[in-house]
Amino acid sequence: MGRSIRVVTAGAVFALLLTGCVVQETRPLPKINATQAGSEIPEDELLDVAVHVFDPGVPLEIAKNEQALNKRRIYPDIRAAESRYVAMMLRGTLENSGQWGAVRVCPENVQFVDVSVSGKIIESTGAKLALQVTVKDSSGRVWLNSKRYASSADTGSYKTDAALKARDPFQNVYSEVANDMLTARATMTARNRRDIRRVTQLEFAQDLAPQAMDGYLFRDQKGLVSVSRLPATDDPLSTRIDRIRESDSGVVDTVNGYYANFTDQMSNSYGQWRRASFEEIEKEQRTLNQARTRTYLGAAAIVASVFVPQQCGLYDYNCRRLETGVRTAGAISGAASVLSGLKKYADARTHALELKELSESFQNEVAPQVVDVEGRTLKLTGTAEEQYREWRELLHQMYLEN
C-alpha cells in the first residue's frame, strides 16, 4: 500500500515538473533602443546605407508543399511582403539613430553604396522574429557575417492599437542590428570612412566609364578595394559621372518611396495579423502543453494501476478490496485524463487552423500589393538600366574624343 502511495506521489511530482517546463514568457520585454548620435558627424564621414530587400527565407525543398509550409508557419506571400517590411523597419531604425547618411531600401541589384545590408528571414510569426544579417562596405570589408538575430515579441506592443503603432513588437531586433553596425563602424578611423566613400564613388565611375576610370582603384589579394589615385578635381568626365550619380540616387530614392508606401499600406493589417498570430500561437502552444501533460499523466496512471504489484496479503480481504478500488479508480481517471488530453490536441489543431485561415486571408490582401510594388520597381530599375547603358556609351565616346 505504501508503495502505491509512493508511485502516486512520484506521478504528481512528474506532473508538476511537466507543467513547470511549459510556462511561457509573455511579459513585455525590456526595450533596446538604437544608440543615437551624440554629435554631428562630419559630412565626408557619413556613410550611406542601402538596406536590400530581405530574402523571404522560404526553403526551396518545401516551397511547393503547402502542408509542410503551414506546419512551419511559412506563408510565402506574407514572407514576400515581410522581406520588404523588415528592410523598411531596419532602415527606419538606422535613419532615426542619426548615425548614417542616406539610408534607403533598394533591390538587390543596387551595388554602389558605402554600406550594404542584406539579410534573410529565418522565422517570422507574431510570436517570434529571427533574421540573418550580413553587412559589408564598398571596399569589401565584412562588418557582420550572417549574424543571427532573434527575439520573442514584446507583448507590450500588442496591448492596444496605439501601442502597436508606436513600437514594433520586434524593435529590439532592429535596434540590435543598428547597434552592432555602429560597433563595427567604431573600429574604423575617420580616414577609413572617408576612403569607403571614395571607393564607392570610384566604383560607380568605373562601372560607367571602365576605360576612362581604370587604375584608380586597387584590389588586394584578400579582395579588399582601396583607392590608388584620385581623378583631378576639375576632370570633366568625373563631373559628368557625378551628375549621373545624382540621378542614380534619385532612382534609389524613388524605389525607396515605393517601398515606403507599400510598408505604410500594409502596416495596419500586418500589425493586426501579427497580433492575431501571436494569440493563436500562444493558445495553440498552451493547449498542446496541456494535451501532453494530460495524456502522459493519464497513461502513467493506467500503467500504474495495472502493473504495480499487489501489496496486500492473500487473506487480507479489506486491503485487497481497497487496492482493487484504487486500481480501478486510477485506471478510470487515467483513461479520462488521456481522453481529455486527446480533446486538447483537437483544440490545438483548431487554433492552428484558425491561424492558417487568418494567414490565408491576410495573404490574399497583401499579395496584390507585393505584385504592384515589385512591378513598379522593376519598371523603374529597368528604365534606369537602359539609361545607364546609353550613358555608358556616351561617356565612352567622350573619352575617345578626349
Partner: protein, 197 residues
C-alpha cells in the same frame, strides 16, 4: 590584271563605306524619347557621329548636350514618379485621417470598430520613410504636393536630437514655400513622436 580587280573592289568598298556614313544624318534623339523608350546607342547614330565635318570641340559639345538632355529628361521622369508616390501617400493619409475623424464623431463606432481605435498616421513612430529624408540634401528632390499650411505650432529646438536638428536646419534653409511647409510639418511630427518614445 588581278591587281586591277583588287583595286576596283577596294574602290567599291570605300564608296559603300562613304555612302554609309552619309546615311547617318538622323537628328539627335530628343530628351523625351530617351526616357520614353530605351535605345541602343551603339545601333543609333549619335550627334557626334552625325556630322563628319564637325571639329572635335563641336563633337564633344554635342555629346555633352546629348548627355545633359538625357540625364535631365530622366531626372524629370524621376521627379514625376516621386510626386506620384507622394500624392498616393497624401491621399492615404487623408483617408486615414477622415476615418479617424468619422470614428471619433461616432461614439458607437469608436467604441467598437476595428478602424476606430486606429490613430492618425501622424501618430506612427517612424518618420514617413517616403519623404526622401534619407537624401542628405533634405528636400532637394522632394515632392511639392503639400495639402495645406502647417497647423501645429513649431516647437523650440532646444532639446532637438541630431535628426530633429537636421530637419529643422533643412526647413530653415529651404526657399520653396511648399517644401518648407512640408519640412516644418515633418519636424513637428518627428518632435511629437520622439516625445512619445
Amino acid at each position: 590584271m588581278r591587281n586591277g580587280v583588287r583595286i576596283g573592289l577596294i574602290a567599291v568598298a570605300m564608296g559603300v563605306a562613304i555612302a554609309g556614313r552619309g546615311c547617318v544624318t538622323a537628328p539627335p534623339p530628343t530628351a523625351e524619347s530617351l526616357v520614353a523608350g530605351a535605345k541602343d546607342p551603339a545601333a543609333e547614330p549619335t550627334a557626334a557621329q552625325s556630322s563628319p565635318a564637325q571639329t572635335p570641340g563641336e563633337r564633344r559639345a554635342a555629346l555633352d548636350k546629348q548627355l545633359n538632355d538625357s540625364v535631365g529628361a530622366f531626372d524629370a521622369h524621376l521627379h514625376e514618379e516621386q510626386q506620384k508616390t507622394a500624392e498616393e501617400r497624401d491621399a492615404r493619409q487623408a483617408t486615414v485621417s477622415a476615418t479617424t475623424t468619422a470614428a471619433a464623431d461616432t461614439p458607437a463606432a469608436s467604441a467598437g470598430s476595428h478602424g476606430g481605435a486606429q490613430p492618425a498616421r501622424g501618430d506612427s513612430k517612424a518618420p514617413r520613410a517616403g519623404d526622401l529624408k534619407s537624401d542628405k540634401s533634405a528636400g532637394s528632390t522632394g515632392s511639392a504636393s503639400g495639402n495645406g499650411a502647417t497647423a501645429t505650432a513649431i516647437p523650440d529646438g532646444n532639446d532637438d536630437d541630431i535628426v530633429a536638428r537636421r530637419i529643422r536646419k533643412a526647413a530653415e534653409l529651404e526657399t520653396d514655400p511648399e517644401l518648407k511647409d512640408k519640412l516644418w510639418k515633418e519636424y513637428v511630427e518627428y518632435k511629437k513622436n520622439s516625445q512619445v518614445r
